[in-house]
């Protein structure tokens, strides 16, 4: 896996009328964990959505391996997994089915691989119940399994540990560390720091505008 590099230079982002990000710059390279912090409303979610290309910056650009992400959005997205505030799951399908259909459109994935990811995120106890009947934290675990299964170099996670118990926090830390060890990049917006290995952690602190 060649070393990847994600960078943003002096991003200015508006949400509606608000100038939310004023000149945010960052660089992350293979093996880095970029921790985005800031008080409520500081613009963490906005920054992450700009990085994945769902929000367009008013000025400044995000580059993936040197290329503007909007230049070839498809290729960039194929290397990216995004997890927002809400877990993207179909309430009527089981976790297993959810992952089958969600990952299937990215790559061919086998049932055993899905089972392994579910086991890893502690979700195998309820892999075959409709998501509708799961608790908030159980859903989050299934969504995390989806991120793992995407098998892509870049993870962008918005408060990945919401609704998770203490063991779940540790799990997220472990997953992040493994992804970095494999040369991937993880960007996460968090309120409480994730329990990750110290080296290679960079921070962006956003302040309320």
């Amino acid at each position: 896996m060649s070393a990847h590099r994600l960078s943003g230079d002096s991003l200015h982002v508006f949400r509606g009328e608000r100038h939310v990000l004023r000149g945010v710059s960052f660089v992350a390279e293979g093996g880095d964990y970029l921790e985005v912090t800031g008080s409520n409303g500081a613009g963490k979610t906005s920054l992450l959505r700009t990085i994945v290309g769902l929000v367009h910056a008013e000025s400044g650009r995000v580059r993936w391996n040197g290329l503007d992400i909007h230049a070839d959005a498809g290729a960039f997205h194929a290397q990216l997994a995004y997890l927002g505030h809400e877990s993207p799951l179909k309430a009527d399908l089981t976790p297993r089915e959810n992952l089958h259909f969600a990952i299937g459109i990215r790559r061919r994935v086998g049932g055993d691989e899905i089972a392994r990811a579910l086991a890893e995120t502690g979700a195998n106890g309820f892999a075959d119940r409709p998501v509708r009947t799961l608790s908030a934290g159980q859903r989050r675990r299934v969504a995390l399994a989806g991120v793992v299964l995407a098998a892509v170099p870049l993870w962008v996670l918005d408060e990945p540990a919401t609704h998770l118990d203490a063991e779940g926090h540790a799990l997220v830390g472990r997953l992040v560390d493994r992804q970095r060890a494999e040369g991937g990049i993880v960007i996460a917006a968090v309120h409480a720091p994730l329990p990750v290995a110290g080296a290679g952690t960079r921070r962006i602190g956003l302040t309320l505008q």
């Binding site: 508006f14 509606g16 009328e17 100038h19």
Partner: protein
Amino acid sequence: MDWTWFHRFGSPPHLYGLAGRLTPWFAWPSAFLIAAGLYGGLVLAPADYQQGDGFRVIYVHAPSAWLSLMAYTWMAVAAAIGLVWRMKAAHAAAASCAPLGAWFTVAALCTGMLWGKPMWGTYWVWDPRLTSELVLLFLYLGYMGLRSAIEDPQRADRASAVLAIVGVINVPIVRYSVEWWNSIHQAPSVMKFGKPSISWPMLTPLLIMFVGFTLLFVALLLVRLRGEILRRERHARWVAEVVAG
């Protein structure tokens, strides 16, 4: 090809100033032409040999109907430009077209209905042209509804642009419905290829009205456009300078 003129034209501060300077150049001639056309149409033109003086409704009806279609076309073109080149000024122009077009559609519908009562014995029939003009009104309302339903101006611009482009298909339907289906509505007598089929004394005031209405539309568009540009550029430095002055 050199595209700088295009971008300069599309730059909001430039367009804002230009629109301000151009407005009177459209407004006054339009007032003059409309007054002249009205005098010509209501007083000078001879009565129609079939419809008597009733035909004089044409001098307000046809120009309104024409504007209702033109406004939609311009709106769709501006929307397409805005969507493709992410040009805010073009979106602002599209947004300005909609209320004007909707009002002239209302004018065309109402004057047509008033005309229809003596000519066809009823205010309304389900004729293709009448119906498609009504559909045009619905399209305008849908466009404005979509726009107002989306809070974020950028998103509203782009979503409504898609709709404007899709809906443009209705314009040729309105325009040519009279020819495609047999309709009781008047076939084009002015705007057709070759020789117009009505007499010059009747036609001249009508043509004057067409030009006058078009200029009026442009003048109104420019005024609205400036407002829309200000709304989109509120946070720009040039707006602060312009507004403070």
